[in-house]
Structures are given as structure tokens and as C-alpha cells.
């Protein structure tokens, strides 16, 4: 006999017929009828009208029938609460049944009926079942407590069920323990601060014992619960790890992944020099690889997790590249994930193999996959410098295939390669330009436009190319519009004579005809820059671009840490914290990795040692410099700022932009009420009043609006050293020069006072520098109003550029100067504060900072003490900011403020600093890391100078 016939009854009057059958005297007929009801219920028909008739069938010895009725009850009790009461008696009676299977069935079903009146009756039977002699009943009752808690949390607490549940953790039966752990973990999730899961070494020991004996599912519950524990010290951590590692050989992938989670978390606490630490790392790789021979869905889960694991601990799988090679028949979701991991694992050692594979993938069928493969080739080029050349030629081969999306993708990545290795591969530009017409995606168009703008001087017909884009300006996406604007301004700055018309056209398109505020703003800024100071415009628009990071798509460190604590779960599959996709209070708790135990110092665990202890990261000790990165990863950083489409110029000109707007706003606010219309005309005016030449200042409202005033652009609190005598009169036949260096709005100036202490008039001043460490050179002639009469002083400001010839000096910031006048040539040397060379765009992206800090070898690190400084960290940070030393992040550990700072020298050298300030202690400690460690001494002196003044 088969049951499928129950699905086929769709006649009219069916409910009526069923009702009759349900009330039939014949047992068989009744059972048949109930089956039909369940079948209807399954396909979504409303059979709630039959409630009383079905419930009447409940009193039966036939277990199969009983289970069907229960199924019905669970579905409809909520809609018929009053009738559901009719069932209570049977439940209560069944809970006393001599057969444990029936007792368990009753308590299991009763918990699923979400009707308040029923839950009241549930308490007594549940209490009995929790202490039942049969483990099968106890394990069912344990889960039932969680069910009841979901319906009425207060009731569970009042009835003391939580304590009973806790007792079950010590039960003799492993499955009871596992279910109790599962129930308690779930309840604890909705009470983040309760001390519910009282994890202490004793309970942990019990859990570990049960772990060896219970079902595969129970092992998962226990391991997931263990992962919430914070061991007291590294020894306890190691002993737990030792007892968890055998689980890595379990056939159930979920057991393996949960064990990996526990190990990844507890490993944080083990000292890295411990032998066991290395052993553990080695043990983790094989099981992770084995997960890849599971069914595809599980492979997907495993790969998403491996993606996290290689970001946190790349060493585990660095030799396992081959297993991530894509198989032809892998489902697309597995292919895409494998590709991601391949890029992460790519290194100089395996790059040849990886490239050969990627090239193969780029000819496959699936568009997304091919795109990703092409993108991956570009990322390899950026990551492994030695491979860049091969990658570029591979990309060119791919461009030759003329497959539209391949070409577009290739152009996007080539743009990044140009960024990373400027002036190396420009020979391919011609090939790229051939494909201009086939580009129809905004990202590819924007990338191509960027390339044309950036290398405008090498592309003969750059103006034509850009002009062709301009025709359909309004139909382009914002990304392309912005890029086009910037590119044409670049072009204009490089070839001003031929392209004036073009730049006017784009500026007017951007400012007048667009209703996109970003585009308008950028248009106005360029316009204003070009019209006031083309030299400044050149410096801003054609500024040197910041480094691009080698690793892309890295997960933000705090999030990564949280996700590591969620290995195996949905969060790790989505790469999102649970709070992003779980409603209500569950899972909103943020998990953290425990701090490392470093040089033997143990991390104190909170006395409670409870779930609450986990949610608050245990106080981390910073033991040594080597561990700084770990701590950096712990930083509570501000949310990442989203970087817009890739306008490289914008980061370079951010500073100027801010000042411009600041200035404009000031004058706006300063004006009277008439400012309103003035503003209107101000914005409306420029196109009409647009003069032919940009050098003539724009008149009218715009002028006022943008009037900057002299001081704008100088952040407050800039420290400039006082003038000192560089050349005493005795040594220079009566000419005394004292001077200092200042940096204003990105321009370095040497400010000098020239005093004539001789008896005769001095004329014909000129100045020259010897070659020096940073290529400082006068940007113009020395402007001295001649003649300089005896006993007269004169102020002279000499703008400096940093593009002069370079020679390393001792000390590094030494500058040898020759000054000539009508009498003689005089030589002197002076030292400039290195902060003069700190560029305005020296604020590093946090991601980049982390990667760079890690990247710079520890040998390049130097540490200094700054004594007797009485500023607090914020004041120090502000003061340093004035000298273009940017604070990227701040963190407070045990009253010690740690400031992470970056600065960039005009020659592109980055210096990273960690400044530690302890309240009440006037001595600061500063650690500097730089690829050119020789600058550290100078930088330190500069810190000292700035902070003490």
C-alpha cells in the first residue's frame, strides 16, 4: 500500500468528507483520514476546520496515528488555542506512560505547541522528565527547556529549569550532556550578560569527556560551546587543544570545522615559540584539504571558511596551492571560491603554476568565472613583482581574443598595474587604445579614461580620444563622468595649448549641466584651481599617487577576528557578522579572539569566565614589538571610510578641496543676508563670465565666494622652528643670514632674514644648494630687493622644490647652501626639520597601514624615548597633525594610549609610527618603522621638537 494517493484528493466538499471519515468508528478509516489531512496540510491547504475531529483521534494506542495527530496539532494549535486545551490531558497522561518513547514523544510535542495555556500545564511534566530515569527522555526534556524558553523565558527562570539544565551537564549520558549544552547555549545567546553557561575548568573537563562519546551532532554542539570559553592561561589552552585535535579526523565535516574553530581561537593564546604551536599549525592543514573532497555544498562552506583562515594564518595552507586548482566539473560557486583562495596563496614560489592555471580559466564558459580569472591575473601582477611582466603579456594575449568582457576586465586590471609599476608597461597603451570602442561597461570605460589622462603626454591623440567620450557625457555613469573630468584636466595641464577648449567644455558640462553634486563640486574645484594658480593645480592634479595595496578584498581585521570565532556558521559563509542577518537579540553579541600570551605573561581571565567574559575582550598585554601587529588587529577602529571610484587625483587634492570649501563657507557666513542671492549669482556666474584665459581672476560673486585669504590652508597649531643664525656676519664679510623652514599648504619655504652688517651696500643676491638627501632645490630665484643698505635687514622667502639632484648627506637633513652677492660667495650649512618633507597626503589607509607595518621587516624598526613631555595623547596627536603626521588609529590599553601614525616624505618614503603615551608619565615611547630606516633618527628628532614646543 502506498501513501501517495492521499495527495490526489482534490474534490469539492473534501473537508466535509474528511470530517465524516475522521469520526468513523473504524480505526483504519480514521488513520486514512488523518493521513489525507496531513497531506493537504503539506501542500498548503487550510484544514484547520477539522481541528476538533483530528484531536479526537489523539486517544489511541496506535503510535503512528498519534504522531500524525501531534503533527497536526503543532501546525494548528496556535490558530485554535481554546481547542488545543482539549489535548492537554492526553499529553499529561502520556508523560506518565511506562514506555519511555511515548513519554519523550509527549514532552517533545508539547514543547512545540506555542499556546500559553498549554505551557502552564507543561511545567510539571517537564520537571519530571528532566529527572526521568531514561536518558532518552532526559535528552528530549533538555531541548524542551529551550523550546519553553523561546515561548516564555520568564516562566523558565521562575520554575528553576535553568538550574536543572545546568545539572544535566554532569549527566552520565553523553547525549543528554550534548543536548543540555545546546539548549543552554541557545538560551545564553538571548541573555548575553547572564552567567548561564558557567564555563569553568571543571565543566570544560566534563564537556571534553562527553565529546569523546557522543554522537556526531552532539560533538558539534559541544565544540561550538567550547569555542565560547576563554582559557585562563596558555597551559590550559594547550591542554584543551590537545584534547580537541583528534576530532580533526572525524568523518563529519561539521565536527572538523567546529574543531578548527576551537583550535584557531585557542591558538591565539599559545606562545609562538612553543613547539606545540608549530605542531598544531601543521595538524590543521590536512583536515582542511580533506574537506575539499566532500560534497560540493560542503566544499563551498569549507572554502568560505578557508578564505578566512588564510587571511588570519596564511602559513597553514601556503604549500597547498594545488588543491585549490579548479576542476572542470566543479559547480560555479566552488570554482569562484577556489579562485579567491588561489590569489590569496599566490607567492613568488608558486606563481608560475598559478598563472598557467589562470590563463586556462580565462578561456572557460562562465562569464563571472572568466572575469574573475582575468582580474586574478592582474592581482598576481600586483602581488608578485617578479611575475608582473608575464602577467601583462598574458593580459595582452587575452585582449587579442577580442572577447568583449575579457577585454574590459583586462583593461580594468591593467590600470591597477600601471598604478603599481609606473613608467614600466606603458608600451601596451597602444594596444589598449585599439579596443576603445568595444568598452561598454562603466568600470572599464573609467579605467581606460584614467589611463589616457594619466599618460596624456605619451598618447598623441589623447585629446581626440577623450573628446570622443565627451560627446555622450550625459549618458555616462557618474564614475565615468568623474574620471573624464579629471582626465581632461590632466590633459590640459600637460598640453595646455591645444586643449583649452576641451577643458572648458568639460568644466561647463560638469558644473552647469549636471545635477550630480559630486561632479559639480569637483568641477568647481578644478575650475577654481585652474583659474587662481595653475602651478598649484598642477601639483594637486598631477600629484604623486599613493601606493596601492598588494592585497585586495581583505576583510577588515576586527571583522575577520569576529568571523574566525564563527567558523563553520552562516556568518563565516556570508562573511558578515551575525548581527547583519539575524533579527532580534540573538547572535548580536560580538565575539573576539583572546589576546596572545606573548612572552610568558598570562592573560587574566575575568573571574566569571563566562560567556560575558568572551564578549568583552580580555585585557591584552603588549609584551614585545613583535606582537604589535596582533594588537593592531585588535584595534577598535572606526568604520572604514568608503573610497569612491578610483579617482587617484582626488586623494591628492583632498586637502586643497577642504580649504577651498572652508574658505568659501566662511565668506558666505560672514556676508549679510544678501549673501543668499549673491551665492546664487556666484554659482551661476562663472560660465557666463568665463574668461578666455584662466590666469585672469574671475570677478564677481565667484571671487568672493572662493576668496581664500592668506591664512587659509594652514592648519592651526603648526609648529615652525624659530629662526636661527645660519651664517654669522664674521664669516661672510658682514652678511648675516638667519633663517628657518616652513611648510605651508604643501609648499616648502626657506624663510631668511638677511642683515647687512658691513659698511657697503650689497646687491645681486643669488642662492644655490648643494645636492642633498631629499633633492631640495630653490624653486625660483632669491627675491631680494636690492640694494641692501648697511644695517638694514630684509626678509626673503624662498620656495623650495624637492626635485633637485639627490645625494645622501650626513646628517640626513643637512643642507649646504651657497649665497652669492656682489662681494663674494659664502657657504654655510643648516639643518631642516624633516617635517618639511612630510606630504599632506601622508594619511595612510588603515588597511594599507596594517599591511605595510607587517611587510616592513622588524630590523627596520627603531625605538626612541621622548622625555619630559606633558601633553596628553589627543593634544599630541593634534600637534603632530599640524606637521603632517597623521594619526590613523588610537587605542587605549591599561591607561596607555597608543597612537598609530603615518607620514609620507616628499620622495614617497612612508614612515609608520607607534607612539605610546601613558597618563602621568612624561616619557613617551615611539617606535618607527620605515623601509629606509636611516630616516628614523631625523623623524624622531622632529617628533621631539614638535611635541616640546
Amino acid at each position: 500500500m502506498t501513501d501517495s494517493k492521499y495527495f490526489t484528493t482534490t474534490k469539492k466538499g473534501e473537508i466535509f468528507e474528511l470530517k465524516a471519515e475522521l469520526n468513523s468508528d473504524k480505526k483504519e478509516k480514521k488513520k486514512e483520514a488523518v493521513k489525507k489531512v496531513i497531506a493537504s496540510m503539506t501542500v498548503g491547504k487550510d484544514v484547520s476546520a477539522l481541528f476538533p475531529d483530528v484531536v479526537n483521534c489523539m486517544q489511541t494506542d496506535n503510535l503512528e496515528l498519534k504522531k500524525l495527530v501531534y503533527l497536526y496539532l503543532m501546525n494548528y494549535a496556535k490558530s485554535q488555542p481554546d481547542m488545543a486545551i482539549m489535548a492537554v490531558n492526553t499529553f499529561v497522561k502520556d508523560c506518565e506512560d511506562p514506555n519511555p518513547l511515548i513519554r519523550a514523544l509527549a514532552v517533545r510535542t508539547m514543547g512545540c505547541i506555542r499556546v500559553d495555556k498549554i505551557t502552564e500545564y507543561l511545567c510539571e511534566p517537564l520537571r519530571k522528565c528532566l529527572k526521568d530515569e531514561d536518558p532518552y527522555v532526559r535528552k528530549t526534556a533538555a531541548v524542551c527547556v529551550a523550546k519553553l524558553h523561546d515561548i516564555n523565558a520568564q516562566l523558565v527562570e521562575d520554575q528553576g529549569f535553568l538550574d536543572t539544565l545546568k545539572d544535566l551537564i554532569s549527566d552520565s549520558n553523553p547525549m543528554v550532556v550534548a543536548n543540555a549544552v545546546a539548549a543552554l547555549s541557545e538560551i545564553a545567546e538571548s541573555h548575553p550578560n547572564s552567567n548561564l553557561l558557567d564555563l569553568n575548568p571543571q565543566t570544560i573537563n566534563k564537556l571534553l569527556t562527553a565529546l569523546n562519546e557522543c554522537t556526531e551532532w552532539g560533538q558539534i554542539f559541544i565544540l561550538d560551546c567550547l569555542a565560547n570559553y576563554t582559557p585562563r592561561d596558555d597551559r590550559e589552552s594547550q591542554s584543551i587543544c590537545e584534547r580537541v585535535t583528534p576530532r580533526l579526523s572525524h568523518a563529519n565535516s561539521a565536527v572538523v570545522l567546529s574543531a578548527v574553530k576551537v583550535l584557531m581561537k585557542f591558538m591565539e593564546m599559545l606562545p609562538k615559540d612553543l613547539d606545540y604551536y608549530g605542531t598544531l599549525l601543521k595538524k590543521l592543514a590536512p583536515p582542511l584539504v580533506t574537506l575539499l573532497s566532500a560534497e560540493p555544498e560542503l566544499q563551498y562552506v569549507a572554502l568560505r571558511n578557508i578564505n578566512l583562515i588564510v587571511q588570519r594564518r596564511p602559513e597553514i595552507l601556503k604549500h597547498e596551492m594545488k588543491v585549490f586548482f579548479v576542476k572542470y566539473n566543479d559547480p560555479i560557486y566552488v570554482k569562484l571560491e577556489k579562485l579567491d583562495i588561489m590569489i590569496r596563496l599566490a607567492s613568488q614560489a608558486n606563481i608560475a603554476q598559478v598563472l598557467a592555471e589562470l590563463k586556462e580559466y580565462a578561456t572557460e564558459v562562465d562569464v563571472d568565472f572568466v572575469r574573475k580569472a582575468v582580474r586574478a591575473i592582474g592581482r598576481c601582477a600586483i602581488k608578485v613583482e617578479q611575475s608582473a611582466e608575464r602577467c601583462v603579456s598574458t593580459l595582452l594575449d587575452l585582449i587579442q581574443t577580442k572577447v568583449n568582457y575579457v577585454v574590459q576586465e583586462a583593461i580594468v586590471v591593467i590600470k591597477d598595474i600601471f598604478r603599481k609599476y609606473p613608467n614600466k608597461y606603458e608600451s601596451v597603451i597602444a594596444t589598449l587604445c585599439e579596443n576603445l570602442d568595444s568598452l561598454d561597461e562603466p568600470e572599464a570605460r573609467a579605467a581606460m579614461i584614467w589611463i589616457v589622462g594619466e599618460y596624456a603626454e605619451r598618447i598623441d591623440n589623447a585629446d581626440e580620444l577623450l573628446e570622443s567620450f565627451l560627446e555622450g557625457f550625459h549618458d555616462e555613469s557618474t564614475q565615468v563622468q568623474l574620471q573624464l573630468l579629471t582626465a581632461i584636466v590632466k590633459l590640459f595641464l600637460k598640453k595646455p595649448t591645444e586643449t583649452q577648449e576641451l577643458v572648458q567644455q568639460v568644466l561647463s558640462l560638469a558644473t552647469q549641466d549636471s545635477d550630480n553634486p559630486d561632479l559639480r563640486d569637483r568641477g568647481y574645484i578644478y575650475w577654481r584651481l585652474l583659474s587662481t594658480d595653475p602651478v598649484a593645480a598642477k601639483e594637486v592634479v598631477l600629484a604623486e599617487k599613493p601606493l596601492i595595496s598588494e592585497e585586495t578584498d581583505l576583510i577588515e581585521p576586527t571583522l575577520l577576528e569576529e568571523l574566525i570565532c564563527h567558523i563553520g556558521t552562516l556568518a563565516s559563509v556570508y562573511h558578515k557578522p551575525p548581527s547583519a542577518f539575524v533579527e532580534g537579540s540573538r547572535g548580536v553579541q560580538h565575539k573576539r579572539l583572546p589576546g596572545s600570551a606573548g612572552s610568558g605573561e598570562s592573560v587574566e581571565s575575568p573571574d566569571t569566565g563566562s560567556a560575558a567574559g568572551v564578549s568583552e575582550a580580555p585585557p591584552a598585554v603588549i609584551p614585545s614589538q613583535g606582537d604589535l601587529l596582533e594588537d593592531l588587529l585588535n584595534l577598535d577602529l572606526t568604520p572604514p571610510t568608503t573610497t569612491g571610484p578610483p579617482p587617484p587625483a582626488s586623494s591628492g587634492m583632498q586637502m586643497g578641496a577642504m580649504d577651498l570649501l572652508g574658505g568659501g563657507l566662511d565668506s558666505l557666513l560672514g556676508g549679510d543676508l544678501g549673501g543668499g542671492p549673491a551665492m546664487g549669482t556666484g554659482f551661476g556666474a562663472p560660465p557666463a563670465a568665463m574668461p578666455a584665459s584662466f590666469n585672469v581672476p574671475v570677478s564677481g560673486g565667484l571671487d568672493d565666494l572662493f576668496d581664500l585669504g592668506g591664512g587659509v590652508g594652514m592648519p592651526m597649531g603648526v609648529f615652525n622652528p624659530p629662526k636661527t643664525v645660519w651664517l654669522p656676519a664674521m664669516k661672510a664679510k658682514g652678511l648675516e643670514i638667519s633663517g628657518t623652514f616652513v611648510r605651508r599648504a604643501g609648499v616648502i619655504q626657506m624663510e631668511m632674514t638677511l642683515t647687512n652688517k658691513a659698511m657697503s651696500v650689497m646687491t645681486d643676491f643669488a642662492i644655490q644648494f648643494n645636492r642633498n638627501s631629499f633633492g631640495l632645490a630653490p624653486a625660483g630665484p632669491l627675491q631680494v630687493l636690492t640694494p641692501l643698505s648697511p644695517n638694514q635687514s630684509i626678509e626673503a622667502a624662498l620656495p623650495l622644490s624637492t626635485v633637485g639632484p639627490v645625494m645622501k648627506m650626513e646628517p640626513l637633513n643637512n643642507l649646504q647652501v651657497a649665497v652669492k652677492n656682489n662681494i663674494d660667495v659664502f657657504y654655510f650649512s643648516c639643518q631642516y626639520p624633516i617635517s618639511m618633507l612630510f606630504a599632506e597626503d601622508g594619511k595612510m589607509e588603515r588597511q594599507v597601514f596594517l599591511a605595510t607595518w607587517k611587510d616592513i621587516p622588524n630590523d627596520n624598526e627603531s625605538q626612541f624615548q621622548i622625555k619630559d613631555c606633558h601633553l596628553n595623547s589627543d593634544a599630541a596627536s593634534n600637534k603632530l597633525q599640524g606637521s603632517n603626521i597623521f594619526t590613523i588609529a588610537k587605542r587605549t590599553v591599561e591607561g596607555q594610549d597608543m597612537l598609530y601614525q603615518s607620514m609620507k616624505l616628499t620622495n614617497g618614503i612612508w614612515v609608520l609610527a607607534e607612539l605610546r603615551v601613558q597618563a602621568g608619565n612624561p616619557n613617551y615611547t615611539i617606535s618607527l618603522k620605515c623601509r629606509a630606516p636611516e630616516v628614523s633618527q631625523c623623524v624622531f628628532q622632529n617628533y621631539e621638537m614638535v611635541l616640546k614646543n
Binding site: 503510535l63 514506555n99 559547480p331
Partner: protein, 435 residues
């Protein structure tokens, strides 16, 4: 935890719907149908999030199984559970098909009630389940029987019941390996691994304690050190194999394996998978495929493929099949092969060459001329790899079973009385050569 479990047919009609949690409503059933089944696209992810509800789905022939949740569940566990659910259903009523599911829907509901409680998976070992979910009712059980059932379901040895008796104690061991290969057109091994399974059928009385031994390099080397070192070097050199990783059925004592690397267990009754393993070193690749593809103009391809068998001449490989992909615009194919039969299958876009048997150290060859329709499609043909299927009577990893000892102290049979059978089968996994 799992909030609900649905089973659909290929049209998206619900066959089974069981809701465990209050946060999953009936609309979830429809959401999945509309967004995944009716989307009729290739599945881009086995986890789909629709309106803050996550659907974990697997497909078995035409049937979709979906587990639904709104919480941050253990994703690996959910998939493992879905596979287990399929295993259990197969063990009860055979193939998972619409018909079988409809025929057994009452049973499936009963199983779902038992193995998933409030979304938490419970004991799902078929052996244990079959003792009390029988579709016969439990009327006839005595009290002893009942408590035996419950202690088995919850007990430490949930996979075996007490009191099993056989007249003849017998066990069968199958070492089943699938050898996977990806080779470049030039014959360079890009990746190769063997994933193997040791499947055991045990018909043993009582609660026997078993110990399984194989030529695991770590064990052999350890023993070699203990014994006289001179001949140990000889024996361990060739005969032992390096196992990259292995996983075991839950009956195996993992902590003992971790500390002593010995595999000891009380086996379930009947057929089950004792272990899985993976090796990558010193793999015997049973066949080598040498492809030669030449494009003659725009409308013709010449393909020549040579296969060489690489094992003892006394052994015979079976069920050999070579699959040579052809472009989509193929209009006609002429094939000549030395051995076996070859056919162009237009529906599969491939030439399929079948050879029934082939001895070791032999060579065979096929050549084909493929006529192409001229197209203006710019995209080049992706040239999928040539794949191969076969079966050989040895383990390509080199694994050998050294012993399987059986101890049952309470009953009066010893290791010698047990009849043991061992068989090695090597099959092709994904065995591909790029061309």
C-alpha cells in the same frame, strides 16, 4: 538552529514541509520556490538568503531538499544533516524520487520528528532508527526491549545493538579508491590525488572489538625502528604509503588514533564506511592519455588520442571509457579506433570511446576528423579536457590491508573463526587531460 525543512519536486511543489521554529512561516516555502526553483538558473550558491531567511539546499535527482533558518546556524552541520537525511531516507525506501517520497510521507514525517528536535539534529544512525521507527507501531515491545532501544539511541555505542547473533561470523572489506588526475597536454601532472574509502560489511555476533591495520608509513616506520633496523629499511621503503589525511566513522576511537595511530572500534552491524583517506604521493596512474588536436582551417579539426595502460600486464582494467569533447558547431565526425567502440554523441558534444577490457602495459589509439560548421562567433572554443573512466583491480594509492583482528571476549569465537574477505577496486575519479 534549523527552523524548517522542506522537500520539493522539480516543479516546486511541496512534498514535505516541517516547521520547527516559530520564526519560519509558510511564506518561506513559497519564497524558495519562486526564488530558487523557478529561477531555473544554474545554482550560484548552495546557501540563498531571501528576506533575511537563509535557505540551505541540495538536490538529489529531481528532488530539492531545503533547510531554512533565520539564525546564525552551523552551516556545515546543516549540510551534513541534509546529506544524512538523504542517507536515512535511502536506507528506508531506496532511491529518493517524487514517487518514493509521496509513498512514504508519513514515515518521513516520523523520521523528521525523531532526528531533528527543535532544529537540533539527534541520533540519525539508520541502524538505531530502524529499531523503533518501523511503521508497525511499538505495541509489541516488552519493557526490556524499550529500554534497550532508548539506551542504544542515546548511548555511547549508538550504532550497534546488543544481542546480535550470526551462525557464521564473516566480514568483507572493500578498499575503494578513486584516483583523480589533472594533466597538462604535455603530460605534466598538474594535480593528482587518491581519495579512498574502506567499506566494511560486518556480520559478527555480540559486541566485537576490532582492530584494523594497513601499510601506513607512520606505523610501519615506527615499528621498523623498534625491530631490527636492517630489513626494516627494505620492507618499509616500498610497501608503506604516506597518508595525507584520514577521517573515520564515528565508531572509531579518535583519541586512540591520535595518540597511537591505531584504528580500533566496535563496528556497526551490516555495511558502513569505516574510513576515508587521501594520498598524494607515489600514486600509480593507471592510464596515461596523450592528446593531439590540430585545427585544419576553420571548419575542420583532427584529433588523435593515445591511451597507455600503466600497471602489471597480468591485471585487467575494465569499463574503460574515454570522452573527447567536440565543439558546439560540429557537423560531422569520422572516427577510427584500434580497439573497442567509438561513437560521436551529438547531444553530449563528445566522442565516447568504450573499451571493455585492457591489460596492463598496453597501448591503444583513436583518431577522429571533426567537421565544423562555419560560425561568426568570435569566442574560441574552450576546449574542455578529455576525461576518462575505468576500473582496475588494485589500489592506485598502494594501500594494503595488513590485518583486521576481531576480539569478542564474551562469546566463544576467536579471531581465527571469522571469515574475512578483502577486495581492492580502483576507479577513476575526475581523471582529466587537457588538450
Amino acid at each position: 538552529m534549523i527552523g524548517g525543512l522542506f522537500i520539493y519536486n522539480h516543479k516546486g511543489e511541496v512534498l514535505i514541509s516541517r516547521v520547527y521554529r516559530d520564526d519560519i512561516g509558510r511564506n518561506a516555502v513559497d519564497a524558495f520556490r519562486v526564488n530558487v526553483i523557478h529561477a531555473r538558473q544554474q545554482v550560484r550558491s548552495p546557501v540563498t538568503n531571501i528576506a533575511r531567511t537563509s535557505f540551505f539546499h541540495v538536490k538529489r535527482s529531481n528532488i530539492w531538499l531545503a533547510a531554512v533558518t533565520k539564525q546564525n546556524v552551523n552551516a556545515a552541520m546543516v549540510f551534513e544533516f541534509l546529506y544524512k537525511m538523504c542517507d536515512v531516507m535511502t536506507a528506508y525506501f531506496g532511491k529518493i524520487s517524487e514517487e518514493n517520497i509521496k509513498n512514504n510521507f508519513v514515515l518521513i514525517y516520523e523520521l523528521l520528528d525523531e532526528i531533528l528536535d527543535f532544529g537540533y539534529p539527534q541520533n540519525s544512525e539508520t541502524g538505531a532508527l530502524k529499531t523503533f521507527i518501523t511503521q508497525q507501531g511499538i505495541k509489541g515491545q516488552t519493557k526490556e526491549e524499550q529500554s534497550q532501544i532508548t539506551s542504544q539511541v542515546t548511548g555511547q555505542i549508538g550504532w550497534r545493538r546488543e544481542g546480535i547473533k550470526y551462525r557464521r561470523n564473516e566480514l568483507f572489506l572493500d578498499v575503494l579508491e578513486s584516483v583523480n588526475l589533472l594533466m597538462s597536454p604535455q603530460g605534466q601532472v598538474l594535480s593528482a590525488h587518491v581519495s579512498g574509502r574502506v567499506v566494511m560489511k560486518s556480520y559478527l555476533s555480540g559486541m566485537p572489538e576490532c582492530k584494523f591495520g594497513m601499510n601506513d608509513k607512520i606505523v610501519i616506520d615506527k615499528q621498523g625502528k623498534g625491530a631490527a633496523s636492517d630489513d626494516a629499511g627494505k620492507s618499509s621503503g616500498k610497501q608503506s604509503i604516506a597518508i595525507d589525511d584520514c577521517t573515520f566513522h564515528q565508531c572509531v576511537r579518535l583519541s586512540k588514533f591520535d595518540s597511537e595511530r591505531s584504528i580500533s572500534f566496535i563496528p556497526p552491524d551490516g555495511e558502513y564506511e569505516l574510513m576515508r583517506y587521501r594520498t598524494t604521493k607515489d600514486i600509480i596512474l593507471p592510464f596515461r592519455v596523450i592528446p593531439l588536436v590540430r585545427e585544419v582551417g576553420r571548419t575542420k579539426l583532427e584529433v588523435k588520442v593515445v591511451i597507455k595502460s600503466n600497471f602489471k600486464p597480468s591485471l585487467l582494467a575494465q569499463k574503460i571509457e574515454v570522452r573527447i569533447p567536440t565543439p558546439l558547431n560540429t557537423s560531422g565526425v569520422q572516427v577510427i579506433c584500434m580497439k573497442g567502440k567509438a561513437k560521436y554523441k551529438a547531444s553530449e558534444n563528445a566522442i565516447v570511446w568504450k573499451i571493455k577490457r585492457m591489460a596492463g602495459m598496453k597501448e591503444s589509439q583513436i583518431s577522429a576528423e571533426i567537421e565544423l560548421l562555419p560560425t561568426n562567433d568570435k569566442k574560441k572554443w574552450a576546449r574542455p579536457p578529455i576525461s576518462m573512466n575505468f576500473e582496475v583491480p588494485f589500489a592506485p594509492s598502494g594501500l594494503k590491508v595488513r590485518y583486521l583482528k576481531v576480539f569478542e571476549s564474551k562469546l566463544n569465537y576467536s579471531d581465527h573463526d571469522v571469515i574475512k574477505w578483502v577486495r581492492y577496486i580502483g576507479r577513476s575519479g575526475i581523471y582529466e587531460t587537457r588538450c
